[in-house]
Symmetry: C2
DNA sequence: TTATCATATGAATACTTGTTCACATGATAA
DNA sequence: TTATCATGTGAACAAGTATTCATATGATAA
């Protein structure tokens, strides 16, 4: 199978070996997957959302309680919960007049723990 | 020990119990740590940088080789390598005229793998 | 030294994003 | 039903960011 050759013209002293080009093109995920992956990390890339997740580690809470705990506006929290919801990091249920948010699964915790480990080295 | 009370005035039907307020304020990391954590994830939150990391999974490479492999400008890659360097996700060494970049440690792989797991559910 | 090659960097641009404000929606209680 | 409460949402603004272009830096080779 003839793959599209990638020309390496710069770097006289060093160049990508055919071998590397092949292994890279083989294991590199699809463009769309890479995009989705970046989108996921973007969700973690905001301290307000990180705080929301930390708060939800402790208890399932409604929007206005989260807002109070984080000392922020209800609207701001609602907007961010939407982002977290779309990334399937939180889920919600209705209870009376309130909407109670909770963590979707354990990946959230694992990912945050890994990040914590990295920055505290 | 009298802690600063957090007033919960909204949500008549549901309110944060003292208990929850305490556990949240106890386990919530410092503002600065949360900020740093978000900064770390921001670095992963760009598909160009994700691609660079994936390429470096396969081999240590110089800037122009990465640019060629990703079909992007040398300047763009250099700018992004700077970001990755500042987040201590990649390291570099000089070899002749080139600067060879490589992954800093195994956290990178773990974090990316966890993210991958989440999006492929 | 000078010429050359690889990389880094600053400015500019276009694009994205977080918060606030004002208001809409939607469920509950009377 | 109507009034009320909690949440969701769109527009607007400010702040941040990725890429490109042109150029600077810095190491190597002659």
């Amino acid at each position: 199978m003839e793959k599209e050759k990638i020309k390496i013209e710069c770097c006289d002293s060093f160049h990508v070996h055919e071998e590397v080009v092949n292994s890279v093109t083989e294991m590199m995920p699809e463009e769309e997957v890479l995009y989705d992956l970046a989108e996921l990390y973007k969700v973690f890339g905001d301290s307000t959302r990180i705080k929301i997740l930390y708060v939800l580690f402790e208890a399932d809470l409604c929007v206005c309680d989260i807002a109070q705990l984080l000392n922020m506006g209800q609207s701001a929290i609602s907007h961010q919960l939407r982002v977290l919801k779309q990334a399937r990091l939180v889920k919600f249920r209705r209870e009376g007049k309130s909407v109670i948010y909770s963590l979707a699964d354990d990946h959230v915790r694992t990912i945050i723990d890994q990040g914590m480990e990295h920055i505290s080295e």
